[in-house]
């Protein structure tokens, strides 16, 4: 659907490839940027390039990190014996906002979803298994999303981890059914962390 010429269409196409942005939104954003002051547009371009260059995956927990390790893995005050397992880096933000959790994290970078061809081997599970003896982990909290894929992933991990002698808990489902952790409000999530149950 190339309606505009050269760089304009290219900009619309690139914006349209972003998640949640349809052709109409892409067009609207493109024209907004073209009308904006050159300095504003350049600042956005620089932010994207800089983030992409400086941020990568934490070598230990696969959270976003600036450098080798993320802020949580660098923080010595964090309890290294407790790991909270989440699907995406954004889920860490939701849990941190509760102020209830003092352990470290492990980011799976997804959830088991056969429909989309994602199996356990596509997730950071091997890396998780390697961390347990290395860091002397005694408790693992499964905080994957409370939807079908998140539950399946939690169930899979529970079966894998329990024979290894670590305590495995799942955050209590005070969470809205079928929702994403990202949208859970802080009070519910705080309560869910307190009320986590043994698997």
């Amino acid at each position: 659907m190339a309606v505009y010429e050269g760089p304009v269409q290219q900009l619309i196409d690139e914006l349209g490839r972003l998640p949640g942005i349809g052709p109409k939104s892409a067009q609207r954003i493109a024209f907004h940027l073209l009308k904006a002051a050159p300095e504003d547009a350049k600042r956005l371009a620089r932010a994207i390039v800089e983030a992409k260059e400086r941020v990568s995956w934490c070598r230990r927990c696969y959270n976003l990190a600036e450098g080798e390790l993320c802020a949580f893995c660098r923080d010595e005050r964090r309890d290294p014996h407790v790991l909270c397992i989440v699907e995406e880096p954004r889920d860490i933000v939701a849990i941190e906002r509760t102020g209830e959790y003092r352990g470290r994290y492990h980011v799976l970078q997804g959830a088991i979803s056969p429909i989309e061809g994602v199996g356990p081997e596509q997730l950071r599970i091997k890396e998780l298994l390697a961390r347990l003896p290395e860091e002397g982990v005694t408790e693992v909290i499964l905080a994957t999303n409370p939807n079908i894929e998140g539950e399946a992933t939690a169930m899979y991990l529970a079966r894998l981890l329990k024979p290894l002698g670590v305590r495995v808990t799942r955050i209590a489902s005070g969470l809205p059914v079928g929702g994403d952790l990202e949208y859970a409000d802080e009070v519910t999530l705080g309560r869910a962390l307190e009320g986590r149950h043994e698997l």
Partner: protein
């Protein structure tokens, strides 16, 4: 436990605004309590009005068409707004239905993210000419009749049904994938458990509902036919012996055992063979299979009785009588049955469409004519 705590006030549609919905450019209609009749020739939009009211309740068309079919040609989106009253409380429902992409739904200006969050806002019972298929058609229609009623009775059954559908798709994708894979075995075990959890919840709901429905179907059939008939419905899974409400505690174990038995067949065929998506709800009249051995008249009466009974059970369990939407049903009925249906209709808000006339005993609160996408009030 079948029903969640329901309100004791009856909700009804007081005001409806449509924009670019089906053939309507822009239209506003108010509906009183009691009976409203919508007259009009076919293709003039009277069924679309019922469809819009149904959309408020279910966030989808009761005619089983995709949302794109609801958007007027040339428009980007259809807008449905409705004031839903329940007792002294009024709630404003607003939906922007898009041909492509996500719909936007708000209740009292608050965004509604998922269909199940609309639970309890408005319930409808729909009578449509193709209801006969409930009796004459395959088991899928009867399964969705039960599931539709369950979703009106409790949000958790709606959740179980959509969870089950998704688990089934995941599980079938696994079964179709590469075999003899250790990882597949472990993932399959997880989805087996999820299939059992969501599936058993759905089966338990259907069994409890069946026990509730049967006396109501009996009563409705008697009222419509003018004589007694022994009506029975038996829940017949494809993967175990017929079940009744006494078996609710055994469903999970029965499903697990069936999954074990059919593991090899499932692997060979690459499809899930165990679970409520394969079940039959067999209805008999006087011991004879209603689908194959009943007369056309008996089948028609039974289809109406099923709708009336469903309505009565939902009203009873939730304390909220659904709004009745009768789409062109009188044209299919002989005089005696039409009169009997009118006598049996509960005193809820009722919207009726007809291309012809109504039985003489019907006295509507409001009559309207729908023509070329315009709605005009007539002298009742």
């Amino acid at each position: 436990m079948l029903a969640e705590a329901g309100s004791t006030t009856t909700s009804r549609v007081e005001q409806l605004w449509l924009q670019d919905f089906r053939c309507f450019g822009s239209v506003e209609v108010s509906f009183p309590a009691g009976l409203t009749v919508l007259y009009g020739d076919n293709g003039q939009g009277k069924t679309s009005l019922l469809e819009a009211v149904g959309w408020v309740a279910r966030a989808r068309s009761f005619r089983g068409v995709p949302d794109a079919a609801l958007v007027r040609r040339g428009a980007a989106a259809a807008v449905v707004r409705a004031e839903v009253g329940a007792g002294t409380r009024t709630r404003l429902f607003e939906a922007e239905i898009r041909g492509q992409g996500r719909n936007r739904i708000q209740v009292n200006r608050q965004a509604v993210a998922r269909r199940r969050d609309l639970y309890g806002l408005l319930r409808v019972t729909v009578f449509a000419p193709d209801d006969l298929e409930l009796v004459k058609g395959g088991p899928a229609g009867r399964r969705s009749y039960l599931d539709e009623l369950l979703s009106l009775v409790g949000a958790r059954y709606d959740a179980a049904a959509s969870d089950y559908e998704r688990v089934l798709r995941h599980r079938n994708a696994l079964l179709r994938g590469p075999r003899h894979d250790e990882l597949r075995g472990a993932s399959l075990a997880v989805f087996d458990e999820q299939l059992v959890r969501a599936g058993a919840e759905l089966v338990r709901g259907r069994l409890r509902l069946t026990a509730r429905l049967l006396p109501a179907v009996d009563a409705a059939y008697r009222a419509l036919a003018g004589h007694d008939a022994v009506i029975h419905a038996s829940y017949e899974p494809d993967w175990c012996e017929p079940l009744t409400a006494d078996d609710v505690d055994a469903v999970e174990d029965l499903m697990r055992a069936a999954l074990e038995r059919t593991a090899r067949a499932e692997a060979e065929r690459g499809v899930t063979l165990v679970g409520p998506h394969r079940d039959e709800w067999r209805i008999t009249i006087g011991g004879l299979d209603a689908r194959t051995q009943a007369s056309q008249g008996e089948q028609r009466t039974l289809a109406l009785a099923l709708r009336l009974a469903g309505h009565a059970v939902v009203a009873d369990l939730t304390g909220d009588a659904p709004v009745l939407l009768l789409d062109d049903v009188f044209s299919e009925l002989d005089h005696a049955r039409a009169e009997a249906l009118v006598r049996s209709l509960p005193a809820a808000q009722t919207l009726v469409t007809t291309a012809g006339s109504l039985p003489a005993t019907v006295t509507p609160q409001q009559a309207m004519r729908v023509a070329a996408g315009r709605v005009e009030t007539m002298e009742p």
